[in-house]
């Protein structure tokens, strides 16, 4: 560890990411009461503000987790320390400050100032925060880029994929900030942020990170892992970039997107299946005893969450003929609550469970708490996912096919929303267990 002193600065990224994740779950849980007690609920803030914070806090902790992860893994792979270690600290506090700014703006300035709150899904943060966040993220690009440029060793494919994913994610934040008078163009480019994150650049981060973590905990040959990775990444890009079309069915763009989006996004599960399959094969071939079981749980969770949450749950409503009826229903909510935590939460937790013990020197930790936390999270999220999926199927049938009114269907869905709330409570308990475990692993050493 002493070889690369900058690594010790990354611990706070993981701990903060997990605390923000717990905060996000609390926000989601509060919102779920708005669904079951519609009109009579007394939530501390209006639904729209809670919902925006629920998304923005997630974007923040994902970015923190990924940036922390890349700063943690980079030095060993390029054979030199990060070029400007001080920037790691400055960027952390800067991003956190922006996060607090976004939260305060949402709570007190929604509807009052467009420069502070923009109110577009996922990119609700106002112009001021957009610009500051972009500057902060570009400085991360600079620091990573300059470190890679002055590398002492040839870069491995997984690290290159991981770095490309991180840089791409940061650059992809920019298209969503361009102002268009037309809603069609605005939605067209807003999806460049959201879709190219979750179905291209974040997937690169996931693929690269899973490969790197498997390399570090197993004895599978590097060439085998790298060969699979290259095919996975090429397929993710080939299907994902034009697969963007599945967001262009009904926003006022031409109907050739129905064919393009349907075709390419129907193929999107293929690389996700390859990812899960190659990880399974690597682990089967591996003869080295696995020390860090919790990290392994998280990585297996991420590959399976990616395959089922993004792949299968995405596929069921990606074809235009089906999406015509499922678009804008709880089916999408089920998909989002499976794909995002299933892939990216477990990935960030995987980073945290590899980095925290390594940084604090507590490598011989009891892995029971982490495993229990993992399973509680899985149970909680499965309850939410299934409740929302059933709600979505019923909503499609009654509202979109039979033509019942929105409110009538929402009344029918109340039991499923109640089930979802209980799933949220279970997931929150799991999140608290994992957060407690990681804080205890890093206490007094990294925070």
């Amino acid at each position: 560890m002493s070889e690369y002193p900058s690594m010790s600065r990354t611990g706070k990224y993981f701990v903060t990411a997990i605390l923000l994740f717990v905060f996000q779950m609390i926000l989601g849980l509060i919102m779920s009461f708005d669904f079951v007690l519609r009109g009579t609920s007394n939530t501390p803030a209006p639904f729209d503000i809670l919902k925006s914070l629920h998304l923005n806090v997630m974007v923040l902790w994902l970015l923190l987790g990924f940036i922390g992860g890349i700063y943690f893994l980079l030095p060993k792979e390029v054979g030199r320390d990060v070029k400007h270690p001080v920037l790691i600290d400055i960027q952390f506090w800067f991003l956190l400050l922006i996060g607090i700014g976004i939260i305060v703006s949402e709570l007190f300035f929604t509807g009052k100032n467009w420069w502070l709150v923009e109110g577009r899904e996922y990119v609700e943060a106002g112009r001021v925060w957009d610009i500051l966040l972009t500057l902060g993220l570009l400085s991360v690009v600079y620091n990573v880029g300059v470190t890679i440029h002055e590398r002492k060793r040839e870069m491995s494919t997984p690290m290159l994929v991981l770095a490309a994913g991180a840089v791409g994610s940061i650059l992809m934040y920019i298209p969503g900030e361009i102002w268009f008078n037309s809603l069609v163009a605005a939605e067209y480019f807003r999806w460049w942020v959201v879709h190219y994150w979750v179905e291209a650049t974040f997937e690169l981060i996931a693929a690269g990170a899973i490969a790197l973590i498997l390399l570090s905990i197993t004895d599978v040959r590097r060439e085998i892992i790298e060969k699979y990775l290259a095919i996975e990444v090429a397929l993710v890009l080939i299907t994902g970039i034009i697969g963007q079309g599945h967001h262009y069915y009904w926003i006022g763009t031409p109907d050739f997107w129905l064919f393009l989006g349907g075709l390419f996004s129907a193929l999107e599960p293929v690389p996700l299946f390859l990812m899960a399959w190659s990880a399974y094969k690597d682990l089967k071939e591996n003869k080295k005893p696995l020390q860090n079981k919790v990290a392994l749980y998280m990585i297996i969770g991420a590959t399976l969450g990616n395959l089922f949450g993004a792949g299968v749950w995405g596929f069921i409503h990606t074809l235009p003929q089906i999406n015509f009826f499922t678009h804008g229903t709880q089916i999408t909510a089920s998909h989002a609550h499976f794909a995002t935590p299933g892939t990216y939460l477990f990935l960030v937790l995987g980073f945290a469970y590899i980095a925290t013990p390594a940084l604090s020197g507590r490598t011989n930790f009891s892995q029971l708490t982490g495993r229990i936390g993992f399973w509680i999270l899985v149970i909680g999220f499965l309850n939410m996912i299934i409740a929302l999926l059933l709600a979505g199927i019923i909503q499609v049938q009654l509202q979109r096919l039979e033509g019942m009114s929105f409110m009538e269907v929402q009344n029918i869905l109340l039991p499923f929303y109640g089930w979802r709330t209980i799933g949220g409570v279970i997931a929150l308990i799991g999140g608290l267990v994992v957060a407690y475990d990681i804080i205890m692993l890093g206490r007094k050493k990294i925070i």
Binding site: E124, I251, V378
Partner: protein
């Protein structure tokens, strides 16, 4: 570096294809016949408010935080794309609806959130524009807008008398999951021994 070449091909071919696709989407005869937002206006007290100002208002008050527009946004409230048609193009009725909200259904009076009448009419202009968009037929008739009227059904809350069904369902579902987890963990331990 064959791996790198493969990845670069995967990145470049679809990325380059996105350029003509994007141009076709907006600047050619292929593009849908969408209205120009600067031409769509509503008037209130002798002043015209355009859909462009309305888009900004729509964003500022975070309508997308509860509702969807062209199906994107939150699923707490109904979709707003065709709401202007549902209210039969009555600007004043829609503006009043926005300002006074429907608290019993979960929609706050936007007046309480600092919205004035001008901003309400700007939002109406934006919603007038969205119902003119050519969205390839979405949403189909009779789904979001039954009878061509604003949704008249009263909201209900979850009833305590029905909760036992939910609890039973959840217990059953989670026993199934726990069974699978138990089988997985036990199977692994036996292999290690």
């Amino acid at each position: 570096m064959n791996n790198l070449k493969l990845i670069l091909i995967g990145l470049l071919i679809p990325s380059l294809l996105m350029i003509p696709f994007s141009i076709l989407s907006f600047y050619t005869d292929f593009a849908n016949k969408n209205p120009d937002p600067s031409q769509v206006t509503v008037s209130f007290q002798g002043k015209d408010y355009s859909a462009i100002e309305g888009k900004r208002t729509f964003e500022q008050y975070q309508c997308m935080g509860c509702h969807t527009i062209v199906g994107n946004g939150a699923y707490f409230g109904p979709d707003l794309t065709k709401v202007y048609k549902r209210i039969n193009g009555n600007d004043a009725a829609l503006a009043t609806y926005i300002l006074s909200g429907v608290p019993e259904k979960g929609m706050p009076p936007m007046r309480d959130r600092g919205m004035n009448e001008e901003d309400a009419y700007r939002t109406v202009a934006f919603l007038k524009y969205t119902q003119m968009l050519d969205t390839n037929g979405w949403p189909n008739n009779g789904s979001w807008d039954r009878d061509g009227n604003i949704d008249g059904v009263q909201a209900k809350q979850i009833s305590p008398s029905g909760i036992w069904q939910i609890i039973l369902g959840i217990v059953f579902f989670n026993l199934l999951i726990l069974g699978v987890i138990l089988a997985y963990e036990r199977g692994k331990e036996e292999k290690h021994e």
